[in-house]
């Protein structure tokens, strides 16, 4: 019996530890969600005081915070579009073509991911200062595109490399021209990778603080606004934004996995009588 209990433990302790660690990962999230429904008792305290929906009804208590959120979204959108286009093109070149200088290009893509944000931020700042480029909205966009591109390349490349070349050959064999093959086979199959890359780029851009901090001058994004407020007092609405971002991301993930599952189920539901005698072609 002792050994059976030992076995039970041996089989499950890993999962137990894993769940504890997940709990650790979610602890601050729970606090953020909780605080978003909290009416602070006095300035600058975080104690749970009283349940309220005020923060949600009125998320823009401080108008400059909402401006910052909007600005972050704008920057994120532009940076996402640009970096996704640039990165996808590069991924196609790397996976689908042979050319000289591949190693150098791979290095150029890899290095930004291996360089601390701090170094990228300060070096870009020294460039802008030396070139006398005024800092602001567009320097932030430039910086964000720069650090997002590599992640896009890696994500799209993985998807593209995992794609069976023979599918494209089969399409060509079935009368699809190069363009039709790209349009009907390659693009749909790579699209999930491109979408994933775009979402990654947006979340990286929206959440970036360090690089933005060096290259923004007086332009305030949401993380910069929070940073500034952390020195003074944090309005509970910050937690509303945090919770909303969390919820939106979860909805996106949930919707995509649900769609996949629904499609699968629908297809399986079709009644099929396997092994029916073959009808003859007349």
């Amino acid at each position: 019996m002792g050994s059976r209990f030992g076995r039970w433990i041996a089989d499950r302790w890993v999962m137990g530890v894993a769940l504890l660690v997940l709990g650790y990962l979610f602890l601050p999230i729970a606090v953020v969600i909780g605080l978003s429904f909290n009416r602070p008792s006095a300035r600058n305290t975080y104690d749970f005081n009283e349940f309220t929906l005020d923060n949600w009804r009125n998320p823009c208590a401080t108008s400059d915070m909402c401006d910052a959120v909007v600005r972050s979204a704008q920057i994120g959108f532009i940076a996402t579009v640009v970096s996704t286009v640039l990165g996808t093109l590069m991924a196609f070149a790397l996976v689908r073509h042979r050319f000289r200088g591949r190693a150098a290009i791979n290095m150029l893509i890899f290095l930004p991911m291996a360089t601390p944000e701090l170094v990228m931020g300060t070096s870009l700042l020294s460039l802008f200062v030396a070139a006398q480029v005024p800092l602001g909205f567009w320097t932030i966009v430039i910086a964000h595109v720069m650090f997002c591109v590599s992640f896009v390349v890696v994500t799209v490349k993985a998807r593209l490399a995992g794609m069976d070349r023979r599918l494209e050959e089969a399409a060509m064999d079935l009368y699809a021209s190069e363009w039709q093959t790209f349009r009907r086979i390659t693009l749909p199959l790579v699209l999930p990778g491109i979408v994933a890359a775009a979402l990654l780029a947006f979340s990286l851009s929206f959440d970036d603080f360090i690089i933005t901090n060096f290259n923004s001058a007086t332009t305030v994004t949401f993380p910069m606004w929070v940073w500034g407020a952390a020195g003074r007092s944090i309005p509970p609405q910050v937690n509303v934004i945090g919770t909303a971002m969390f919820a939106i991301a979860l909805l996106l993930v949930g919707a995509s996995s649900l769609r996949g599952r629904r499609a699968r189920r629908a297809a399986l539901a079709v009644p099929v009588a396997a092994g029916r005698p073959a009808k003859r072609l007349s």
Binding site: V14, A18, V21, I29, A114, I210, N213, M245
Partner: protein
């Protein structure tokens, strides 16, 4: 050689030459690469050169009056002399955080990859989900949790793990905890990816061949997860050692890391040569650690 029925073909000799490769195809990859590569060159590579140059400016200049390029190599020893404690602290904190993250992240990745069954995807999303809230908002939430009048401190004081005046916030421990927390998913994801590919039958084979669970882990699981472990460690280590948000929000100036120093050099003291020199020192230190680590780990192909 003796095939009987080969049909003679009339124009056997007129082997047509391979179709000429269209010029468009030769150029295409370069056209595809051009915009992205140009962006990275101009806004990543050139700035690094510029930063290198800035680190050699005459330190007596200023942003307003301009800097003279004097090749002042002395900026480096000067910066190191002044800020070596912060540099060392950065790596000590990151090192401790990394060990903690490995202790938590390995079971987590292994559990999801091998033991979670149909909950696998849900658990995997759960690892990434906390990252969806803003980095800063999460870190501020830790500030709440660790605060002196929070429930955690109260609980620890009640069970006498913490003295009556003991604190959690504004300690080195809080900074390490923040680093561990914020970069843990970067460690777990690559680790998960390589553990997921591990065929459970290999462990069965190992135990069939008289390996104890510990031995099986040591001889099979660990070596096979090495690429993920190496990649995850680097993805944790590189951003964590350059981070200064955790030190700023959860620590005191006594816990400052090199990032805090660089940040203030550029944005407060406006001492660009010093900030640039420190940035390069940080990068050199990281590269040195990474290089030694990869040599030891023996899996250079992760790069």
């Amino acid at each position: 050689m003796t095939a009987l029925a080969h049909v003679p073909t009339g124009s056997g000799q007129s082997a047509s030459p391979p179709a000429p490769r269209r010029g468009r195809h030769r150029l295409l990859p370069y056209l595809l690469l051009l915009p992205g590569a140009a962006w990275l060159l101009i806004f990543f590579a050139v700035p690094l050169v510029q930063l290198a140059a800035a680190s050699l400016y005459d330190p007596s200049g200023s942003v307003t009056t301009g800097y003279a390029m004097t090749g002042a190599v002395g900026n480096y020893p000067a910066a190191l002399q002044e800020y070596w404690p912060q540099l060392v602290r950065s790596f000590v904190y990151t090192g401790i955080a990394l060990v903690l993250a490995l202790l938590m992240g390995y079971p987590l990745a292994y559990g999801i990859a091998q033991k979670a069954g149909r909950w696998k995807n849900l658990l995997l999303v759960s690892v990434v989900a906390p990252m969806f809230t803003s980095f800063l908002v999460r870190t501020l939430a830790w500030k709440t949790i660790l605060s002196d009048n929070g429930w955690l401190v109260g609980l620890l004081r009640d069970v006498h793990l913490l003295g009556p005046d003991g604190r959690l916030l504004a300690t080195a421990g809080a900074v390490v905890l923040g680093l561990t927390y914020n970069f843990l998913p970067f460690l777990v994801l690559p680790l998960y990816a390589s553990l997921e590919r591990l065929d459970p039958r290999m462990l069965e084979a190992a135990s069939d061949l008289y390996a104890s669970p510990l031995r099986a882990f040591q001889k099979v699981t660990l070596p096979l997860s090495m690429p993920g472990l190496v990649a995850g460690t680097l993805l944790f280590f590189i951003p964590a050692s350059g981070d200064y948000i955790n030190a700023e929000l959860l620590g005191t100036p006594r816990d400052n890391m090199i990032g805090n120093v660089i940040d203030s050099a550029f944005l407060v003291k406006l001492n660009y040569p010093q900030g640039a020199a420190l940035s390069f020192l940080l990068m050199a230190a990281i590269l040195a650690v990474v290089f030694v680590y990869l040599r030891k780990a023996g899996t250079e192909e992760v790069l």
